[in-house]
């Protein structure tokens, strides 16, 4: 799994990766929750999950197309954003593997 910068123009806050289209959602959400994320809701074709902790990073998943966007909390200092994205990216890789959502 490779996390890369998304379209968001504010440097280093919005990242994306691809997951399996139509992943097993129950299993995937369980994996997120096991690693400290909380499901915020499923509507308008997307699933929103927030990371617990001081920094509320958000994950937005489009199950239909297999797009995952990571939105770092905007309080993350500029100079820490790349490292923070890499840290969360490592965690996401584990979650996606446990949730059977890695792309083929």
């Amino acid at each position: 799994m490779r996390l890369e910068r998304d379209h968001g123009c504010r440097t280093g806050l919005t990242w994306r990766c691809d997951v399996r289209a139509d992943p097993p959602m129950d299993r995937l959400i369980d994996a997120f929750e096991a690693h400290g994320f909380t499901l915020q809701g499923e509507s308008f074709g997307v699933v929103n999950l927030d990371a617990d902790g001081d920094r509320r990073h958000r994950v937005i998943l489009v199950p239909k197309t297999g797009r995952l966007q990571l939105r770092l909390d905007y309080t993350t200092p500029h100079e820490e954003r790349d490292a923070e994205a890499a840290r969360v990216g490592t965690l996401l890789a584990r979650i996606l593997e446990e949730g059977d959502a890695l792309p083929p």
Partner: protein, 419 residues
């Protein structure tokens, strides 16, 4: 309480104009907000620009807060001030502490939209020398007037510390002054009187369906625990269109009186505010996972982009934008029986001699730029560098507002043509 506030939201459904209590509201992002404020300061100078922006915020906020208090039956100053602070945060403008009495006082702000967003966007590279939060200043002045039953447009406010200037928080002082003569409120009744009979255009079914979905989505958007809204890769505010209109048109009038040769410059900048908005907010929405979930992956077809942008304009409350004509690569005719700009101009300024919807002009041109020059399927990044490349290095389009409700026409019509 906020549920009761949200229950006062209304829509002129055939005209896609939104109101909170009686005040017209629209969504705009921090890029647009900062650009328009900067345009006013560039045109008038920082001191006069800040004064105008503060007056405009006080004017627009008084209308909102007084009509809201009437609808909700709030009586005591404490409950009125509490509502004001909660509402400001819910609209995505940040957190306020309003510590005022009828005789003046102080205010504090944390995570204020303008100051924080300026610092986020420019603070690494530029040191700001003057405060950024005229919106918060005017809002708190109006909240104090409404809370204590003071004469409208009488409370003076100065921002003495600002996070955009690297202060730990924003601070404000208030003192009563001489009341200015209030302007006519531009509310629901005034908008109804100005709009023209509605009509539809090309791809209407698709545009209407997307606009409805986006409006439903936007209805659930509210400030987070810091009072900010982060969405679509930008910071979003639910804002008072009277603020935008008053600062734009008062500045335009002042430039016309004092320096008519500079009028084309400020008109170009007001048009550019439309480019900034469409590139950042509309582009951000089109590339967002929310759009992908709701509408589908962007394929990059010009009709898809222009009709999608038209739907976004409606959903954000800009008016009932329709496509009268679209020839990809050649020409776009955007026509609407309602714009937030014409509602304001006709109500406060009377008949115009020229098209006055500068924002719509700039937005329509930007539609064609997005449709023709953005490689949508290659995951483009909407960076400042890409903006400069698209909009400041030879734009291959001309734009003209051929009809305007402010001139007495039955619609506003903007024609974008390949040059």
């Amino acid at each position: 309480m906020l549920d009761r506030v949200l229950a006062t939201r209304s829509l002129l459904p055939e005209h896609d104009l939104s109101f909170l209590a009686d005040a017209p509201v629209i969504f705009h992002c921090h890029h647009f907000n900062l650009f328009l404020d900067q345009t006013i300061d560039d045109a008038l100078g920082v001191e006069a620009g800040t004064a105008l922006r503060t007056r405009a915020a006080r004017d627009a906020s008084y209308h909102l807060l007084s009509s809201l208090n009437r609808k909700l039956g709030l009586v005591t100053p404490a409950e009125r001030l509490e509502l004001a602070a909660a509402l400001f945060a819910a609209m995505g403008h940040g957190r306020l502490e309003i510590l005022t009495q009828a005789t003046g006082g102080e205010g504090r702000g944390t995570w204020l939209h303008y100051g924080f967003a300026w610092h986020e966007k420019y603070g690494q590279a530029v040191r700001r020398r003057f405060p950024a939060d005229a919106m918060a200043a005017g809002f708190m002045a109006a909240a104090t007037e409404v809370a204590y039953g003071l004469p409208r447009e009488s409370m003076q406010c100065t921002e003495t510390a600002c996070i955009a200037m690297r202060a730990p928080r924003c601070e404000f002082t208030f003192k009563p002054g001489k009341a200015e003569v209030p302007e006519i409120d531009v509310g629901t009744a005034q908008a109804r009187a100005v709009v023209r009979p509605s009509f539809t255009g090309l791809y209407e079914d698709k545009i209407a369906a997307i606009a409805k979905g986006l409006r439903d989505f936007a209805g659930g958007v509210a400030g987070d625990e810091r009072g900010l809204v982060q969405a679509f890769g930008v910071f979003v505010t639910l804002h008072l269109s009277t603020y935008y209109n008053r600062i734009s048109y008062d500045a335009w009038n002042l430039v016309r009186e004092r320096s008519p040769a500079s009028l084309p410059v400020i008109e170009a900048l007001l048009r550019e505010s439309g480019h900034v908005c469409v590139f950042n907010t509309f582009g951000g929405i089109l590339l967002s996972p929310e759009w992908e979930g709701m509408v589908g992956k962007i394929q990059g077809d010009p009709v898809e982009i222009v009709s999608g942008c038209t739907a976004i304009g409606r959903a954000l409350g800009f008016g009932h934008w329709t496509l009268a004509e679209l020839k990809p690569g050649e020409r776009l005719v955007l026509r609407t029986p309602s714009t937030y700009e014409s509602s304001y101009w006709v109500t406060r300024e009377g008949p115009a001699q020229q098209g006055m919807c500068f924002f719509v002009q700039g937005a329509a041109l930007a539609f064609m730029q997005l449709a023709e020059r953005v490689p949508w399927t290659q995951r483009p990044k909407l960076t400042q560098e890409f903006y400069v490349e698209l909009f400041r290095r030879g734009v291959p389009w001309s734009v003209k507002e051929t009809k305007c409700i402010a001139k007495g026409d039955m619609a506003c019509e903007v024609v974008v043509q390949k040059t």
